[in-house]
Amino acid sequence: MSTGLWLLLFDGLLVTLQLTVFGAALGLVFAFAAGLARLSGRRVVRGIAFAYTEGFRGLPALVVLFWLVFALPALGLQLEPLFAGVLALALNIGAYGAEVVRGAVLSVPAAQLEAAVALNFTPWQRMRLVVLPQALVAMVPPMGNLLVELLKATALVSLVYLQDLTFQGQIVRAATGETAAVFAGLLVGYGVIALALTRLVRLVERRAAAGLGRTPAREVTR
């Protein structure tokens, strides 16, 4: 295989990584905004967040992507292709992430809030100092799963001609006819990224546990 084709694959890898990293970052923003809004005292705020989470969880990411890439330009709004990809993925993963945020906040025992009231914290201080730090720990594992889901979903962008790893793989396959080899390569490529992400999440998980003074059992037995 020529160096040119290797470079294509490498470019594709970079695009996939960008989609994953930026999609995760923006998705987290959506997840926190919508997840906390779901718990707001105001009905309108709750309603908007509910519509977003329910709407985007029901919608295939691919349909959202088609909308952003093909339908919006028809309506006169042209997004930069990479940004459209990131946005579509983030909207989708953010809707699932919002449920994770909401669930984690609700999982903090009511007794913790009562103790915070007994110390006369303001409602926002209760959230910021007591509830969120504990909720964050509960969020790490499910967020880690979503991150891997996001990585897998990035392959969808090849269908709107964004040149990610999958897209470039197809190009190389067409140029060389080496179907099995190229697909094996993709498998390894995605696999390695997924593994790296999982390791990263483990690390964060351990950090988070340490923040509650818990030593993971793994470290004790090692």
Binding site: A111, Q112, V117, A118, L119, N120, Q125, L129, G213
Partner: protein, 259 residues
Amino acid sequence: MTGERFISFDGVSKHFGSTTVLDDLSFDIRAGERVTLIGPSGSGKTTILRMLMTLTRPDSGTITVDGVPLFHERRGDALVPAGEAHLRRMRRHTTMVFQQYNLFPNMRVLRNVTEAPVHVLGLSRDEAEGRGRELLELVGLGDKVDAYPSQLSGGQQQRVAIARALAMRPDVLLLDEVTSALDPELAAEVLDVLRDVARTFDVTMLCVTHAMRFARDVSDRVLMFNEGRIIESAPPEQLFDAPEQVRTKEFLRSVIDET
């Protein structure tokens, strides 16, 4: 040490569904008084403390603290249900220690004790830490400032919770069965700390407890609850040694049999 009437319940009732938890209850507590609440399970003792901590609202009646209604505020000429700002002003008087300690697991011991003084009372970090260390020393945990709550025994956690409460310089300290979750030895440590607190702090104390020796040692007055009413109120010697009500006698016998 005891002075003017500081807390008043006036015709307070509370229902949960069809159960009447507090039944047209009225009583007063003077500033600096140490009062123990006893009575059978479900008689409404916890509900009283939770109301004073603004964790539960009464259905009817008025509670005043230092002459100010707890759950009502004046808006023009009308008394309206209190908003968060009024509740926060009223909570300055009072703090509570819970049966299950409820320390913040995401903070080390010292920060558990300093966080509210810094964010709520507006102390500087240094000032709060100085005072926090003193209080932790007082409860016998001067060497645990850097531990996480999950690394402490139940008795140690409860002593931190007491230090955390005292750091708020409360006028009123509410203690709800703070030793019930502990083995007898650990409970004894916590009760010793509370005896110290009663000796050294000029604070109004309301305790719900089954520890009768402790109640006898620290309280000025014992209130016997039954079915959401106070059926007997007397100094500990009198109430424990010569109870007037049959129900009180029965209850005391059952508690003493248990321990």
